[in-house]
């Protein structure tokens, strides 16, 4: 799953159309749109709104690992209008707090520092994009996800030659629309990473069957998952089956028996292990 936070409806519209996202009337705190792979929330302007919307979406996320993207428009003194730039460093101007998203994906565009300000400023800051949401988005999303999966992608909407007074809803929509291929490439890479991580984190399929047969405490459930992962890692011919331990009456005895079974297994690396 990829979670998308945009500030404005005009930024969201091209994404809603492109990905055929459907409005979710049940969620009334924010305007939410989704399909099977993506969820989009329109946060409103400002970092507090962005942080709240991000947390709202995270609280509804049932997956261990999801990608997070904050596409939108930003100003920059020098970059040309329409340039897409991934944020490699985020600064919250008010608190001077900084974050460094880990860019492990093969990003389809250049990257730049992004500074989030609380209210519009007359002058451009040197060497940085300017927006009003990214620090809130990132601070909140990084509570839930590792930094490699959280990104802000900004399209330059104004610069020294063409100021903010020329930004309209219509040209904002056009800027996002014109960069859909870049946004799509990033979403695709984030999906790949998230899928990889979800496969790694996925509880072994047999966990539920074991837990249905015996009562495991939370601590024991972790132990059980660890043992079942070991079982699969050893590539044993037979899958773990609770029926093989049905004579045991307690979860503690089951854990002990599974561990002893695994400890007796030979380890060999001859098959391709990559």
């Amino acid at each position: 799953m990829i979670n998308i936070i945009t500030a404005l409806p005009c930024e969201a519209r091209p994404l809603i159309d492109h990905y055929r996202l459907r409005g979710n009337a049940k969620q009334s705190a924010f305007r939410c749109y989704q399909n099977d792979e993506l969820r989009l929330v329109i946060s409103g302007i400002g970092k507090l709104a962005a942080a709240t919307a991000t947390t709202y979406l995270a609280s509804r996320d049932t997956q261990t690992t999801s990608g997070w993207l904050n596409p939108g428009i930003a100003g920059h003194a020098d970059h040309a209008i329409g340039t897409p730039l991934l944020a490699h460093k985020l600064i919250d101007a008010a608190s001077e707090q900084q974050w460094f998203p880990g860019i492990v994906i093969p990003a389809p565009c250049a990257s730049e520092t992004l500074t989030t300000i609380d209210s519009p400023e007359a002058e451009y800051r040197p060497g940085t994009m300017i927006d009003m949401e990214a620090s809130g988005f990132y601070a909140a999303a990084s509570r839930f996800q590792s930094c490699e999966l959280i990104h802000s992608l900004k399209i330059i909407s104004d610069n020294r030659n063409q100021g903010t007074d020329q930004i309209t809803e219509k040209n904002t929509t056009a800027l996002i629309h014109d960069n859909l291929s870049t946004i799509d490439a990033i979403i695709s890479e984030l999906q790949t990473l998230a899928h990889q991580q979800n496969r790694i984190d996925k509880a072994p399929v047999e966990s539920d069957a074991f837990m249905a047969q015996w009562h495991f405490t939370t601590y024991q459930q972790n132990q059980l998952r660890g043992l079942l992962r070991r079982w699969h890692a050893l590539k044993l011919p037979a899958a773990p089956d609770p029926d093989d331990f049905s004579q045991l009456t307690t979860s503690k005895a089951v854990l002990k028996a599974v561990k002893e079974h695994l400890d007796r297994q030979p380890v060999h690396f001859y098959e391709a292990n990559r």
Partner: protein
């Protein structure tokens, strides 16, 4: 190729920073106040980062030379390590670095002179003793040589310190500088090995056993003294055959007189690091076998450790004198 190079503001104008950045003209430079902002922060995924690590250039402020851990030595009474670099180009599944660090990015401390001064100061504190300095603890000593220029920069320091010995520990074929340098009596180039099948399964990105042996032969022919490190020894069913073949392969190519030392140690990882490693790679067969906890370390069962150590020791004694052998075993 690095897409991003994070640079501490304090070293932005350092000549070594500029030289390293010049090697990556297409990389984007990102400035930070302290490398820990990037390297040490929470919420990073080592495994994901390992797919495309960034480079971090930083200044090391203190602790340039540290006492080596117990059991990490080759006979010297005083053992130290120093790390001009954190993290490794290779991706060995047993490596403790992946459990120790939150980030897989490579850190290079560009203030080599401070490391060199600390080495000189340490050597002068103990003028009548033989000191050992290990450079391959937090990284591979040679693997990033084209970027770090490490040997070229550090060998002259050791050439002036007769009581200080340097171990370059590596799995790398980056030996050009060494082959262009007059060998030092107080420097040994130590290669780490596991048997070929294990290397293929567990040492991702590492040159093959055969290629490493070829590199050692070239170094030996040039006059460098060599070390062999079987640490960690990795268990698999039939390990006897694997290690026997490895020893035969090595000692049939390397003249005994070129060998300075051989060391042997079983797999052992601090408990917290081990758990991090299992969490990163739950599907990894290496972690799925039987492990016990001994002295806060996760190890193979004691009887298996002894069996492996005795077997390999006996095998090695067919090729080397006992005086060249060192066991990497932490004290009880």
């Amino acid at each position: 190729m690095h897409r991003l190079i994070y640079i501490e503001e304090a070293v932005a104008d350092h000549p070594r920073t500029k030289a390293i950045c010049a090697r990556f003209p297409r990389a984007t430079k990102v400035y930070c106040k302290h490398y820990g902002e990037v390297f040490n922060r929470k919420g990073q995924n080592f495994r994901l980062q390992k797919q495309n690590p960034a480079l971090i250039l930083a200044h090391k402020h203190k602790n340039h030379v540290l006492n080596a851990p117990d059991g990490y030595g080759i006979g010297g009474q005083r053992n130290y390590y120093f790390s001009h670099m954190l993290n490794c180009l290779y991706d060995c599944r047993y490596c403790f670095l992946q459990g120790m660090y939150r980030s897989a990015n490579y850190v290079i401390f560009v203030n080599y002179e401070d490391f060199q001064q600390a080495i000189v100061d340490t050597a002068r504190e103990h003028p009548d003793e033989a000191l050992w300095f290990f450079s391959g603890y937090d990284c591979d000593s040679l693997a990033y040589e084209p970027v770090t220029n490490f040997t070229d920069e550090f060998l002259p320091t050791f050439s002036q310190l007769p009581n200080a010995h340097l171990e370059l520990r590596t799995k790398s074929l980056q030996i050009r500088t060494l082959l262009n340098t007059e060998p030092l009596d107080n420097c040994i180039v130590a290669y780490s090995f596991t048997p070929a099948a294990l290397s293929q399964a567990l040492e991702h990105g590492v040159p093959s056993v055969e290629k490493r042996i070829e590199a050692m032969v070239k170094l030996q022919q040039h006059g460098w003294r060599l070390g062999l490190r079987f640490d960690p020894m990795i268990y698999q069913e039939g390990f006897e055959r694997d290690y026997q073949q490895l020893f035969e392969q090595l000692f049939s190519r390397l003249p005994a007189e070129s060998i300075h030392s051989v060391s042997l140690g079983t797999l052992r990882t601090p408990k917290a690091f081990h758990q991090n490693m299992v969490n990163l790679y739950p599907e990894e067969k290496l972690f799925a076998g039987r492990f016990d906890e001994q002295r806060g370390m996760i190890t193979y069962a004691k009887e298996l450790e002894e069996q492996m150590t005795h077997f390999c020791y006996d095998q090695l004694m067919q090729y080397i004198p006992q005086s060249l052998f060192f066991a990497c075993t932490p004290p009880e």
